[in-house]
């Protein structure tokens, strides 16, 4: 089908039962249309999308030798794909098809003005004809897919996705910036509402990851550069030096025993200590120890080396260097998790000022048997067991002015769990949860709430406005309004636990630049569609799961991680992907290399190539191009064209709409 052929357009006006025909005079529109230039056939039918309707199109294409088809019916967002397929089945290139929206944007919204609606329908059909006359046949592009996956983030989300993909037979590179996988879930003691031991359910999966033949575990590593497109991503990973040979280290721990340097443990949130050579927690995967260069005596002062002296496996390597690893992968999954809101931003709660005000995660470390206190709930100020504990909800959450506007979803359940644990470990303790709402929405959650209430936990509906400390006792006085009683009150507790908001990772902006994915107004990474595409992003080939997408509990995280793996497996298993051909291309004869297009492309799909000394020409990478058309609108010499929405096509629509 050569472009120089005269357009022979067939027009099909749909009645859609009475949805269109009840307002728009369809016969008048057919009559008007048949008199338009390039129209060789115009007809109407009750339901164009039905089988007989589609057959009518296919038969007409053959009978009247149509090389363009216009259907005036519902919105193209509804049936454009349907009719494109119809055309294709009749042997016509599916991109020689255009729709006029005379239902959602005409008959349904002008029901009281049938004459004007009919005039408008004529104008809309004329515009579709004008564009159709200028359409060109297009072929979707096909790309091969590298059958491996990169997963950034080794928490439960990354672990689940990695196992699913690895079990499906694809090779997975799991990159984690900490020395061990496990994420925040590894820091938890028990999980709600079943009170499973977190480590007990997590560590088997961690071990599976560690020894899976299809998973290359890259811990203490960070993704630095990502180039390419779906099926063909080129990634550069920075592997930070551990100064310990991963292959030789047996994890015996003698080095850590002997190391003289003690520093606050990040894993224990500063509540406990670790050595300068360490593993973050006992069940770390890999078990390889890591030397913390900032605090190691050898690196800071050139002395010690005790670990090297005592290591039975001779695994210490002080001369190890950072390394860059280059990978080729087909898809990427972002499973980078969350950070916690800095409660110091709300000074009225005294966090950071009063020793006995702690966060929920710090409480987890205290109550965890492998934590810094061996599982004993004690007050940081004096190490004593508190006889009263207050839990304050929504610290930072649901706070448009000083925190984040959204609800963090898990804190109500987490605090109820903590409250239960206090009751369990400190019989007779007074426990109170100060809440705004109690969100117990999941499976077994409401039942858990009833259970803890039966255990004697007090629930007070009122946000604490201020906390101040009794410096002698270290106790905290809470000032609040009990909104159910309508009373302002003050009450004293020996330990206060703040349920702080979940917030996006501090690295999120850098990750956004790295992957070119978008983040929502709340700072979490954006899914492609909030309902129908929850694990894809706007970049084909990059998926998302877990708290990186928004706060959620472990069951939802695992479900989403498996969903991301399933979605990612589609291109991986097909081995190829097709891309819509509605992309941009450059008219080299008119391009002067000014660079406006390169600067504004959201996908970095345009590159300026030097063709001779001092002369550049723009070039579009059609695999990266998403067809937004910013370049087409900005190019000062109209040297870049967006297929399917070219300047002549759009101008012709404006002319047509203005002429009726």
């Amino acid at each position: 089908m050569s472009e120089k052929e005269e357009p022979r357009i067939g027009v099909f006006i749909c009645h859609c039962g009475t949805n269109i025909a009840g307002v728009v005079d369809v016969k008048q529109v057919v009559d008007f249309t048949s008199k338009q230039p390039n129209v060789v056939f115009a007809t109407d039918y009750t339901y164009m999308c039905s089988d007989p309707g589609q057959a009518l199109i296919k038969d007409s294409i053959k009978e009247h030798k149509l090389n363009r088809v216009v259907v005036a019916a519902c919105s193209p967002r509804m049936h454009e794909p349907t009719f494109r397929k119809t055309c294709q089945e009749a042997g016509l290139n599916p991109y020689l098809f255009e729709m006029a929206n005379i239902r959602e944007q005409c008959s349904w919204v002008h029901m009281g003005e049938p004459e004007k609606a009919t005039e408008k329908a004529k104008a809309l059909v004329k515009a579709a004809l004008a564009k159709a006359s200028l359409l060109e046949p297009l072929t979707p592009m096909e790309f091969n897919v590298e059958r491996s996956a990169l997963i950034i983030g080794g928490g439960i989300a990354g672990i689940q996705a990695a196992l699913d993909l690895a079990n499906a037979g694809f090779h997975v590179y799991l990159v984690e910036k900490e020395p061990s996988i496990g994420g925040h879930m590894a820091q938890l003691d028990k999980t709600f509402p079943t009170l499973d031991c977190s480590a007990c359910i997590l560590t088997p999966k961690m071990v599976d990851v560690g020894r899976h033949p299809n998973i290359t575990l890259l811990t203490y590593c960070e993704a630095q550069e990502v180039e390419g497109f779906i099926g063909n991503f080129k990634v550069k990973i920075l592997r930070k030096a551990r100064y310990v040979d991963e292959k030789a280290c047996t994890g015996c721990g003698v080095c850590a025993q002997k190391c003289p340097v003690k520093v606050p443990s990040e894993f224990d949130l500063g509540l406990g200590m670790r050595k300068a050579i360490y593993i973050p927690f006992p069940q770390s995967v890999p078990i390889t120890h890591t030397i913390d260069k900032e605090n190691c005596l050898y690196f800071t002062r050139g002395v010690c080396k005790v670990c090297e002296k005592f290591c039975p496996a001779k695994a210490i390597r002080f001369d190890q260097q950072d390394e860059t690893i280059e990978l080729k992968v087909g898809i990427i999954i972002n499973a980078t998790g969350y950070d916690l809101f800095n409660a110091k931003k709300l000074p009225q709660y005294g966090y950071g000022k009063y020793k006995n005000v702690i966060t929920g995660l710090e409480f987890e470390r205290l109550v965890n048997a492998s934590g810094p206190t061996g599982g004993k709930i004690v007050r940081p100020s004096d190490g004593k067991t508190p006889k009263s504990v207050a839990f304050i909800q929504c610290i930072g959450s649901r706070d448009e002015h000083h925190g984040v506007p959204y609800c963090s979803r898990i804190c109500c359940m987490a605090s109820l769990k903590h409250a239960h644990q206090v009751k369990e470990k400190i019989p007779g303790a007074e426990v109170c949860v100060f809440y705004i709402d109690l969100r117990c929405f999941g499976k077994g959650y409401e039942e858990f709430l009833v259970r803890v209430q039966d255990e004697g936990i007090r629930l007070v509906r009122g946000k604490v406005s201020e906390i101040y400390e009794n410096p002698e006792t270290g106790n905290l006085r809470l000032r609040l309004e009990d909104t159910l009683l309508g009373e302002v009150m003050e009450t004293e507790f020996e330990l206060v636990v703040l349920a702080v908001a979940l917030v996006p990772r501090a690295e999120a902006p850098a990750l956004q630049t790295l992957l070119k994915v978008s983040r929502g107004a709340d700072g979490f990474f954006l899914e492609a569609h909030p309902k129908l595409r929850p694990v894809e992003t706007h970049i084909p080939g990059i998926f998302i799961c877990g708290c990186a997408q928004g706060p959620k509990d472990i069951p939802d995280t695992v479900a989403q991680a498996s969903a991301a793996a399933a979605q990612a497996a589609i291109p991986l298993s097909q081995g190829k992907v097709t891309a819509e051909p509605l992309t941009a291309y450059v008219l080299e004869d008119y391009c002067s290399g000014c660079g406006v297009c390169e600067a504004i492309c959201p996908y970095k799909a345009i590159e300026l190539k030097e063709v001779e000394e001092g002369k550049r020409r723009a070039e579009v990478n059609e695999a990266l191009c998403q067809g937004c058309g910013l370049c087409g609108a900005a190019c000062p010499s109209k040297a870049i064209v967006l297929r399917g929405f070219t300047e002549p096509q759009l101008m012709s629509q404006i002319e047509a709409l203005s002429s009726v």
């Binding site: 008119y590 002067s592 660079g595 002369k615 550049r616 000062p636 040297a639």
Partner: protein
């Protein structure tokens, strides 16, 4: 056969285009030997009636510069069209309307009022304005009435070729002319002496990344002489202007103002430049977008400095 007959005429013009014809310096003496100039108001004393007496199509090439601003311009355009085989719109004014075309942003009434009554240094208590005729003791003097709006030459007569520039590059214009005299026949409507690409292609400055935070007027900064003007926040019409001038202004240290008109594919030079400029500013909020727009002091005057009458809207709409 005789020497080829050449005519030059100035309509609403500053005289610069005629001067550019002289720009070739000493070569002019050689060329004048080879052609017969039959009409050239700036230099020779032919009268209108001499032109009227010429047989139709007897002028081989007519270089018509200046825009069509009054009835006399229009009359001469039509007359010279009849009398010429090839009519060339010479210079930005004849091709696009030129700087004088900016008057189209006002009505004729407003123009008169401003020029003869409102300008700060005008003293005109009797409200005297020019009239089309005035009686003096010797007889009647006539002034050609102004048209409501200025038009480029092709809105009044059919134009064979265009030579852009304000003024055109003398050397190149003569080369084009000589080619035509020798019998070359480019397609009707060709813009001669011009590149297919915009000025950026022949600009010697270094281009890195087209991203700016704010605009700077040329007097506000000391521009880096090597870097692209636009990338320094200084408006340069280069990206939206047809090349062929060899980036003379830029080589002289000034940003391009757009005198060669739009790129070949483009109808409206100003709109394309506006779009390109607005697209490369880093804007993070609606407020910032508003502020950026405010920072462009005179959008129409900047983006349509030479091309207003040939743009999409052509003139004041209301």
């Amino acid at each position: 056969m005789g020497k080829p007959k050449i005519a030059c005429y100035w309509a609403a013009s500053c005289g610069g285009c005629d001067v550019s014809v002289l720009d070739i310096g000493s070569k002019l003496a050689d060329i004048v030997e080879q052609v017969e100039i039959v009409f050239w108001p700036i230099a020779l004393d032919f009268k209108y009636k001499d032109v009227e007496a010429m047989p139709d199509q007897s002028i081989d090439i007519c270089l018509f510069n200046g825009g069509i601003r009054n009835e006399e311009n229009e009359h001469m355009a039509k007359l010279l069209r009849r009398k010429s085989k090839i009519l060339i719109a010479y210079g930005a004014c004849a091709y696009l309307g030129g700087i004088l075309g900016l008057a189209n942003l006002a009505t004729l009434k407003e123009l008169f009022s401003r020029v003869y009554r409102e300008t700060p240094s005008t003293v005109n208590p009797e409200n005297t304005v020019p009239q089309p005729t005035v009686k003096v003791k010797e007889g009647e003097l006539k002034l050609s009435p102004l048209l409501e709006y200025l038009k480029p030459l092709n809105e009044v007569v059919e134009v064979d070729y265009y030579i852009p520039g304000c003024p055109p590059v003398g050397e190149k214009a003569w080369e084009a002319l000589i080619a035509l005299i020798k019998g070359e026949k480019p397609p009707k409507g060709t813009v001669l002496t011009a590149d297919e690409r915009t000025v950026c292609d022949s600009c010697p400055r270094v281009k890195e990344e087209k991203k700016i935070k704010e605009l700077k007027r040329i007097y506000q900064v000391i521009p880096d002489p090597e870097k692209c003007f636009l990338e320094q926040g200084i408006i340069c019409m280069g990206p939206a202007t047809r090349g062929g001038c060899d980036a003379q202004c830029i080589k002289a240290g000034l940003p391009c103002k757009g005198c060669f008109g739009p790129a070949p594919n483009v109808e409206d030079q100003g709109a394309r430049m506006l779009s390109a400029l607005a697209s490369i500013v880093e804007v993070n909020s609606e407020e910032e977008a508003k502020r950026f727009a405010e920072s462009v002091a005179d959008p129409a005057g900047t983006f349509y400095l030479f091309s207003l009458p040939s743009s999409m809207l052509k003139r004041r709409v209301k």
